[in-house]
C-alpha cells in the first residue's frame, strides 16, 4: 500500500475526509429548520406514493424514456431515433405485453394485469430472458433525439438493480428521479431564503407549494427527463441568486456553468437556459464592477470559464452524436427550424391567441383550440396517467379563478412594494429572464411544430416544471406581503388546498388503474 511523506495511506485519508463530510452533512441536517424537514418528509412520501401507484409505463412517454435508459445502460450507446431493431427491448416488450400495460395507455376502461396467474406467466417468461434480450431495443425511439444526461443518471439505478426483474429496475429508476424531486423542494426553500431573507413563513409557503404541486410530484416520480430538468433549473436559480446576493466565487461560477451544461445535455427545452446564463453573468459583472470590486477582472475570467463549461460538453455531444436524417435539427422537435416557413408575424399571432381572443388583423390560430387554460391550468396543476386521469371540471374552473386572482395580486403587490422591487432589480431581471426564456422557447417550438403538424401544439403543463421555483416565489411573495393575519390565513389555505389536490390526484389515479 502506498503512503505519503507522513506515512498515511491516501485511501485512509479519503475515508477520513468522507467521514468528516458525512458528519458535517448530518449535523447540518440535524440543524435544518423544522418546517423544511417536515416538508421534505411530505415530498418523500408523495414521491414514493406516485412511484408505486402508477403502473409501469403509464406516465407520459415513460416507455421510450425507459427504453433509452435501458439501451444506454446495457450497451453504452443511445438508441436511434429513426432506425433500429425495435423500440423496446425484447424484455421490455414481453413485460409490457404480459402485464397488459401497452393497451392500458390512455384508455380509462382498461386495467393492467394483476392476478397471480399473470405474475406466474411473467416469471416463466422472465426466466427465458438473457442479457441479449435486454439490449436489443436499439430504436426507433422517439426519445432518441434527446441528449443523454438524464438517461445516464437513470443508468445508475438500472445497473444497481440488475439483480431484480424489469419492474424492480423500473421502480428503482422512478425512486431515483424522486430523490431529485425532494431535493428540488429543499432548493426552493433556500431560494426563498435568498430572495426574502430568513423569513420562515415565506420559505414554508414556497417549499410547501413545491412539495404539494401535484404535477411535480407525479412527473418527478416517474422515468421522465422533465423532473430532472425541473431540478436542474431550480438549482440554477439558486446558484444565480447566490452569485447576486453573496458575490461571485469560482465555485459558484463553475456550478452555474455545470448546471447550464446539464440543462442542455438533458433535453432540447434545456437550451432555454442560455439567455438566463448570459444575463446572470452580465448582471453580476455590472453589479460588482459598479460596486468597485477589485476582483472583477478575475471574476470575468471565471464567468468565461462558466460559459466554456456549459458549451463544451454540449458541443462535444453534438459532434460525437450522429444526427439522423429525418430527426429534425438540433435536439429534434424542441429546436428544429428545418423545412418550416418561419414568420415572426404569424408567431406573434399564434402566441397572442394562446392567451387572448384573436384581434381583427390577425390570421386565425393554427391548430386546435388550445391555450393558456390547457397548459397553465389543466396540465400544469394536474392531468395524470397518460392525460386521461383528470380532476373534475369544477376544480380546473376554480384553479383558473385562483390563478387569475393570484396574478392580479402579484401585480398589485409588486406595484405596492415598488421601492423594494427596484432595490432588488438584479434579482428581478434574472428571475424574469429565467421565466421568459423558457416560455419563449416553448412558444417558438410549439409554433414550429404547428407549422408541420397542425393538430399537435407540443406544449403541455409539465414543460413548465423547470419554472416551479418562480411559481413558488410568486405565491410566497404575495402571501408574505399581506397583513400578518391575512398572510397566515392565505398561506395556510394555499397549503391546505395543495394537500387536497395531491391526495385527490393519487386517489383518482389509484381508482382509475386498480378499482
Amino acid at each position: 500500500m502506498s503512503t505519503d511523506a507522513r506515512g498515511r495511506s491516501p485511501s485512509r485519508d479519503l475515508r477520513k475526509r468522507i467521514r468528516v463530510r458525512v458528519a458535517r452533512s448530518a449535523r447540518a441536517a440535524a440543524g435544518a429548520p423544522r418546517p423544511l424537514v417536515l416538508l421534505l418528509v411530505v415530498a418523500a412520501i408523495l414521491s414514493l406514493a406516485w412511484s408505486l401507484s402508477v403502473p409501469g409505463f403509464q406516465a407520459p412517454d415513460e416507455e421510450p424514456h425507459f427504453a433509452y435508459a435501458q439501451y444506454l445502460a446495457e450497451t453504452g450507446s443511445p438508441p436511434h431515433l429513426n432506425v433500429g431493431t425495435g423500440s423496446l427491448s425484447t424484455e421490455a416488450k414481453t413485460a409490457v405485453q404480459t402485464a397488459q400495460l401497452h393497451s392500458l395507455v390512455g384508455i380509462p376502461g382498461a386495467r393492467p394485469a394483476w392476478t397471480s396467474a399473470d405474475l406466474r406467466l411473467w416469471k416463466d417468461q422472465e426466466a427465458r430472458i438473457g442479457s441479449g434480450q435486454r439490449s436489443d431495443g436499439s430504436g426507433p425511439n422517439r426519445a432518441g433525439a434527446n441528449p443523454p444526461l438524464y438517461y445516464l443518471y437513470e443508468a445508475i439505478p438500472y445497473r444497481a438493480s440488475l439483480w431484480g426483474d424489469l419492474y424492480t429496475r423500473l421502480l428503482a429508476m422512478r425512486l431515483w428521479t424522486g430523490v431529485l424531486m425532494v431535493l428540488t423542494v429543499a432548493m426552493v426553500w433556500a431560494i426563498a431564503g435568498e430572495v426574502f431573507g430568513p423569513d420562515r413563513w415565506r420559505q414554508t409557503v414556497a417549499a410547501g407549494v413545491t412539495a404539494l404541486q401535484p404535477m411535480l410530484g407525479y412527473i418527478g416520480s416517474t422515468v421522465s427527463p422533465d423532473g430532472f430538468l425541473a431540478f436542474i433549473w431550480t438549482a440554477f436559480v439558486l446558484v444565480a441568486l447566490r452569485i447576486l446576493r453573496r458575490g461571485p466565487s469560482l465555485r459558484r461560477f463553475l456550478a452555474l456553468g455545470v448546471l447550464a451544461a446539464a440543462s442542455m445535455l438533458t433535453h432540447g427545452r434545456g437550451l432555454a437556459i442560455v439567455p438566463p446564463l448570459i444575463v446572470v453573468l452580465l448582471v453580476a459583472a455590472w453589479r460588482y464592477r459598479a460596486a468597485g470590486q477589485p476582483d472583477w477582472r478575475r471574476h470575468l475570467g471565471w464567468a468565461t470559464a462558466a460559459i466554456a463549461l456549459a458549451a463544451g460538453p454540449v458541443l462535444a455531444w453534438r459532434l460525437l452524436h450522429h444526427i439522423e436524417p429525418g430527426g429534425g435539427g438540433l435536439y429534434g422537435s424542441q429546436a428544429s427550424f428545418a423545412g418550416t416557413h418561419f414568420s415572426v408575424k404569424q408567431l406573434v399571432g399564434v402566441t397572442w391567441q394562446f392567451y387572448f381572443h384573436k384581434l381583427p388583423f390577425m390570421q386565425a390560430r393554427i391548430g386546435p383550440d388550445y391555450g393558456y387554460r390547457q397548459v397553465f391550468i389543466e396540465t400544469f396543476f394536474g392531468t395524470f396517467g397518460s392525460l386521461e386521469v383528470r380532476y373534475p371540471a369544477w376544480v380546473y374552473d376554480r384553479l383558473q379563478l385562483g390563478a387569475a386572482v393570484g396574478l392580479v395580486a402579484l401585480v398589485a403587490t409588486t406595484a405596492w412594494h415598488a421601492p423594494a422591487f427596484r432595490r432588488n432589480i438584479d434579482v428581478v431581471v434574472v428571475l424574469s429572464t429565467v421565466g421568459l426564456s423558457m416560455l419563449a422557447l416553448l412558444h417558438i417550438a410549439s409554433y414550429l411544430n404547428l407549422l408541420q403538424a397542425p393538430g399537435d401544439p407540443v406544449f403541455t403543463g409539465r414543460y413548465l416544471l423547470p419554472l416551479i421555483s418562480l411559481f413558488a416565489l410568486a405565491i410566497a411573495w404575495v402571501v408574505g406581503a399581506l397583513p400578518r393575519r391575512a398572510s397566515l390565513v392565505t398561506g395556510a389555505a394555499v397549503l391546505g388546498v395543495g394537500v387536497l389536490m395531491s391526495l385527490a390526484a393519487l386517489g383518482l389515479s389509484a381508482a382509475r388503474f386498480y378499482a
Binding site: 412520501i45 392500458l104 376502461g109 393492467p112 394483476w114 396467474a117 399473470d118 395556510a492 391546505g496 391526495l503
Partner: protein
C-alpha cells in the same frame, strides 16, 4: 397574533375538502372491473363479423376468481341481433358452461353474459357462439396502441383485430369498499420487495401522515 390560526386554517381546509370532495367520491358506487380481456378501441372501431353458427374465442385472457360477467359490444346488421352463447375455459379443468344471451337488439350496444369464475386465477379463453341464423359484428380494434397479449380466433383461425372484452365482478361497489382490492392490485408488477402490506403502510402515510405533517410544518413556521 394567535399561533394556532395558520395550522387550524390548513387543517380546516383539508377537513372541509375531504368532506365535500373526497367523501362523495369514495362512496360513489361503480361496477368493479375484474380484468380486461382486450382494451376498447381508442379512436377507430374495427367491426369483427361473426357469421351464423361460428365461434369467436378470445384467448390468453385473465379470468380472476371474482369474474362473474363477460361484457362485449355488439353491432347488429340489417336484421335484429341473433342470440349468442358465451362460455369460458381455462387450464386445470376450468370450464364455465355456455349461457344464452338473447338477441333482438337493433342498435349497437354492450352485451353481458354471466360466467362461473375459476377457483384460482387462470389465463384462459372466453368464447362467443353465434346461435342465430344471421351474422353479427362485435366491436374490435386493430390499433397498435390497444394491442395486448390476447388473440382473437374465429372457428380456429386467428384474426388480426382484437375483440373488446371486459370481465366484471358482480354488483356495484364503492371505491372505499374496493380499497383492499386496490392495494392487492397495486402491488402486482412493482418489483421484488413491494407487497400489499407495504402499500397499506404507505396509504396511512399518505392519507394521515401528509396532512398532519403539513399542518405541523405550518405550525412550526411561526416559531422562532
Amino acid at each position: 397574533m394567535r399561533r394556532w390560526m395558520a395550522p387550524v386554517t390548513t387543517a380546516a381546509i383539508i377537513l372541509i375538502g375531504a368532506l365535500v370532495w373526497f367523501a362523495p367520491f369514495v362512496s360513489r358506487s361503480r361496477e368493479p372491473i375484474s380484468s380486461t380481456g382486450a382494451s376498447p378501441p381508442f379512436s377507430n372501431v374495427t367491426p369483427v363479423r361473426l357469421p351464423a353458427s361460428s365461434v369467436l374465442c378470445m384467448t390468453d385472457v385473465t379470468i380472476d376468481t371474482d369474474a362473474r360477467i363477460a361484457q362485449f359490444t355488439v353491432i347488429p346488421g340489417a336484421s335484429p341481433a341473433p342470440p349468442l352463447r358465451v362460455s369460458a375455459n381455462g387450464p386445470d379443468g376450468y370450464h364455465s358452461p355456455e349461457v344464452d344471451v338473447p338477441g333482438g337488439q337493433r342498435n349497437a350496444g354492450p352485451q353481458t353474459a354471466s360466467i362461473r369464475p375459476p377457483t384460482h386465477p387462470v389465463i384462459g379463453e372466453i368464447c362467443v357462439r353465434n346461435a342465430g341464423r344471421v351474422a353479427i359484428s362485435l366491436v374490435g380494434t386493430t390499433e397498435d396502441r390497444t394491442s395486448g397479449r390476447e388473440q382473437a380466433v374465429i372457428d380456429g383461425a386467428h384474426i388480426k383485430p382484437d375483440v373488446q372484452l371486459t370481465l366484471l365482478a358482480r354488483g356495484h361497489r364503492t371505491v372505499l369498499q374496493e380499497v383492499p382490492a386496490v392495494m392487492r392490485h397495486m402491488a402486482a408488477f412493482k418489483g421484488s420487495f413491494v407487497s400489499a402490506g407495504l402499500l397499506w403502510i404507505l396509504l396511512l402515510l399518505v392519507v394521515l401522515g401528509v396532512p398532519v405533517l403539513v399542518v405541523r410544518a405550518v405550525a412550526a413556521s411561526g416559531r422562532p
